[in-house]
């Protein structure tokens, strides 16, 4: 029960965090943390199928896609090396 509240509050903090950070990389990392915690919550709610999928798709693949996009953007800007 307390774990539920802690996780939910963490989720909300993460969501606010993505809004207020200035750095895009930070925002993406916070979002990945958000997705992982969401997967944990779904596992707690007895939906293991969803937890696996969210961990693989939501946190994994979506995160990778965001990272590549960030990399592309910075490489075009010229701050790569």
């Amino acid at each position: 029960m307390i774990l539920d509240y802690v996780l939910l509050i963490f989720l909300i903090l993460c969501a606010i965090g993505t809004t207020i950070t200035k750095n895009l990389l930070d925002a993406v990392i916070i979002f990945m943390a958000y997705s992982s915690v969401m997967a944990v919550i779904w596992a707690l709610l007895q939906s293991p199928d969803l937890a696996i999928t969210e961990a693989a798709v939501g946190a994994g693949v979506t995160g990778i896609l965001f990272f590549i996009t960030l990399k592309k953007i910075h490489s075009v800007k010229g701050t790569r090396d």
Binding site: D4, Y5, L8, L11, I12, A15, I16, T18, T19, L24, A27, V28, F31, Y34, S35, M38, I41, W42, L45, Q46, S47, P48, D49, L50, T53, E54, V57, G58, V61, T62, L65, F66, T69, L70, K72, I73, V76, K77
Partner: protein
Amino acid sequence: MTNMLRFLTENHYEAGAIILFGIGFLNLLLQDNLIKKFIGLNIMDTAVYLFLVSQGYIAGHTAPIATVGQKALASKFINPIPSGLVLTGIVVSVSVTAFSLALVQRLYKKYGTLSLDKVLVLLKEDKEDESNP
């Protein structure tokens, strides 16, 4: 007020989901940066999924993986429908995210910025250039 308090203690998942939905919604409306906008969109989607999953949960019941020959499953397992719906939803939202990020990349290559305001200003300038060559 007591009603609200009772709601927050009993339906905390729904309450959390709606607050997250609101944050995502605000992000989608107000963020100028496109990447943050799409993160907001993802938050909004996952909030709806959290809402759905919490509707399917039944206290004390377990995940719907049967063993052979088991009977009276409805009193042991949680509702499988929301899980199925959310599974579909997750895939939809990852597809949408991939598409929007591809758009963002092309946009950046063309205009060198991610801010929607600036892009709109640049677009207006482009159009003015076109109209009086």
